[in-house]
């Protein structure tokens, strides 16, 4: 080893620390290469479109986690909120215009967010507990609601199917919704006052309070946005899955936390961003295909999934941490 070894290593480390997206994108590409090596020919235009389609609802749910995690919180109600708005929309659309049904479906999503925000901001309930409790309540409400609409049946509007499943010139239509949304979130977090406030509160809540920030307003708006985003993700997801059920988006909850964490957002608040989260969602999506292609038993697949989340996060912390 030459004398320049450690110096070069530290320069590398600095580059990686300043550009945390680079290692993530490298990992994503590496996973795609491994996939192509395992099953030559699988990586084509159609596969890429499919992967992106499945990654988008996850990425939107992970946006909720990213933003709440920036303030040191977490939103564990997103899975059931997404499910709820999808289910409400699917049952309301039989009697209402699709646009009206979608609006009706987003109202409870925003209300759940509002309740979360009030609990966290005013009553200072730990976000983990508050959102878990709300998800219990919503689960119960949804089951009761299901009984009242058994007769009406359900349908999924053409527009949502087009948005969720369709492709135009090989490009998934969901990007029409997702690209502006992602740009707005990335821009909103980096450049707007609201975004900066989220970082400030996550970094030091007391200091931001003394600096004149009305923390409760920010927190309430944040959780309402989180609820709305979860609702939108649910509508998109039901257009993709095409079968509304009471457990539609619930399995996406833990992966959404994982996507945000892999993407480099600190669960303790104050550090991270949405661009990393999007790559994190893509990584998880590719990983799922990879594990399916390997044709392992379900058990080993889950074990590997967990292990990879852990290894990626640990490596990421090692690389980006100040040394």
């Amino acid at each position: 080893m030459s004398a320049t070894g450690p110096a070069r290593a530290s320069r590398w480390r600095r580059v990686l620390r300043d550009r945390p997206l680079i290692p993530l994108i490298v990992l994503l590409l590496a996973l795609v290469v491994v996939l192509e090596l395992l099953r030559p020919g699988i990586v084509n235009e159609r596969w890429v479109a499919n992967t992106i389609k499945f990654a988008i609802p996850l990425a939107i749910l992970a946006a909720c986690q990213t933003m709440t995690m920036l303030t040191g919180g977490i939103d564990l109600s997103v899975g059931i909120v997404a499910t709820m708005s999808a289910f409400v929309m699917a049952t309301q659309v039989t009697t209402h215009d699709p646009a009206v049904a979608i609006l009706i479906a987003l109202v409870p999503a925003a209300l759940v967010g509002l309740a979360n925000g009030i609990g966290v901001a005013f009553f200072r309930v730990h976000p983990l507990i508050m959102t878990l409790g709300m998800s219990l309540i919503v689960t119960g409400c949804l089951q009761v609601y299901q009984r009242t609409v058994l007769a009406t049946g359900s349908a999924i509007p053409e527009a949502l199917v087009w948005l969720g499943t369709g492709r135009t010139y090989g490009i998934p239509n969901a990007l029409v919704l997702f690209v502006p949304l992602a740009v707005a979130i990335v821009f909103g977090l980096r450049r707007t006052g609201f975004g900066r406030l989220l970082y400030a509160i996550g970094d030091n809540e007391t200091a931001s309070r003394f600096a004149g920030v009305l923390v409760w307003q920010v927190i309430i708006v944040l959780y309402v946005i989180s609820g709305l985003l979860a609702g939108i993700a649910g509508l998109l997801y039901v257009g993709l899955i095409k079968a509304p059920s009471l457990s539609l988006a619930v399995p996406l909850l833990l992966p959404s936390v994982a996507a945000a964490v892999i993407g480099g957002t600190s669960i303790f608040g104050g550090r991270g961003g949405y661009a990393g989260t999007i790559v994190g969602a893509l990584i998880l999506s590719v990983l799922t295909t990879l594990l399916t292609v390997l044709q392992m038993p379900e058990g080993s697949r889950r074990m590997l999934f967990g292990a990879i989340i852990l290894v990626v996060t640990a490596a990421y912390i090692r690389i980006t941490e100040e040394s």
Binding site: L128, L136, E298, M303, G306
Partner: protein, 330 residues
């Protein structure tokens, strides 16, 4: 110190737990009013239904006290339960003793792995245990694809019926289900010596202020690993109880994660660490189960029960938040 002063001190220190016990008492009376023939048998089945939840809550409480949180408890319970059920299938009753010891050891090891990973990787607890949730769940599926296996007769008998003690009048002993004794003994054997030891003190120290604990010479990493290992042990007990009560093992984790967090918070163990004990969460588990029973007696739709449970959980925690705000105005 006068007896009166020490009494007020006990009340002040354990106010939350005493309040919970009072609430449990009120609920039992309410139950008796709703369902006049509710009695020892009903209490026995309440305890039996609460057992796995109680062990899950105890495990979660230990971890929360050191300032962590363990999302993998339900998965560890599933893994230990299927392991026990698989090993006991077609084997002798004596062999089951060995299986129980082995599974308890396994729980310790699983928990220690969780803790060691947290300490070594420096990844936040919640993320590590989230990842391990998938790992243990996957392992459970590898052990057993679908619900199956068996449990030894003596194990199943361990939680059925009541304790017969010669010197106790029959009226009293019918109110002591074997399950309750098992719970108290199993948790007490670990918790009481721990609470009185240096290690137990270190756990509280690490939970309330890691930096101060470190500067006072507490080995933070080791304390955390031990707490997680003991949580794994409790989770293994929970897994065994699952196998005992159902006679089989199921690889899909039950609803114990959410319930354990809820019971821990209701039980006065603050998330963030350093406060509370095991009694509060256990009483909270009984309260939550009893509410469910009462709502069933009232012929309320089980789905509405879920709503009410969630609402109770949220409101109690909000109330706790308000009380904390009043006593420590910021």
């Amino acid at each position: 110190m006068s007896p009166r002063a020490s009494l007020t001190r006990i009340v002040r220190r354990n106010g939350w737990v005493i309040g919970l016990c009072a609430l449990l008492g009120v609920l039992l009376i309410v139950t008796k009013i709703i369902q006049p023939n509710y009695g020892a048998a009903g209490f026995g089945s309440l305890v039996r239904a609460a057992l796995p939840f109680a062990f899950a809550a105890a495990a979660q409480a230990l971890v929360v006290i050191v300032g962590g949180v363990d999302l993998s408890i339900a998965s560890m319970m599933a893994l230990t339960s299927v392991t026990a059920a698989t090993l006991m299938e077609g084997s002798s009753e004596e062999f089951a003793i060995l299986v129980v010891l082995l599974v308890l050891l396994m729980g310790l090891v699983l928990g220690a792995i969780n803790g060691a990973l947290i300490v070594i990787t420096r990844v936040p607890d919640i993320v590590v245990t989230l990842a391990m949730l998938f790992v243990w769940e996957g392992a459970a599926l590898l052990v057993l694809q679908a619900p199956g296996g068996a449990a030894a007769q003596w194990l199943k008998a361990l939680i059925v019926g009541t304790v017969d003690v010669a010197w106790l009048p029959r009226e009293v002993s019918t109110w002591i289900p074997k399950g309750l004794v098992l719970l108290v003994v199993a948790l007490g054997v670990v918790w009481i010596p721990l609470r009185r030891s240096r290690l137990g003190l270190s756990m509280y120290a690490v939970g309330s202020d890691p930096l101060a604990a470190f500067r006072s010479g507490v080995a933070i990493g080791r304390t955390k690993i031990v707490a997680y290992a003991l949580a794994g042990l409790f989770a293994a007990m929970g897994g065994l109880v699952l196998t005992m009560s159902t006679g089989i093992g199921a690889p899909i984790p039950g609803p114990y994660l959410l319930a354990s967090v809820a019971a821990v918070v209701l039980g006065g163990v603050t998330l963030g660490g350093g406060k509370g004990g095991l009694v509060g969460p256990i009483v909270a588990v009984l309260i939550l189960r009893l509410v469910r029973t009462d709502l069933t007696f009232l012929a309320i739709d089980p789905n509405v029960t879920t709503i009410i449970e969630g609402t109770i959980m949220v409101f109690v925690v909000m109330l706790g938040g308000l009380v904390a705000l009043r006593s420590h105005p910021r």
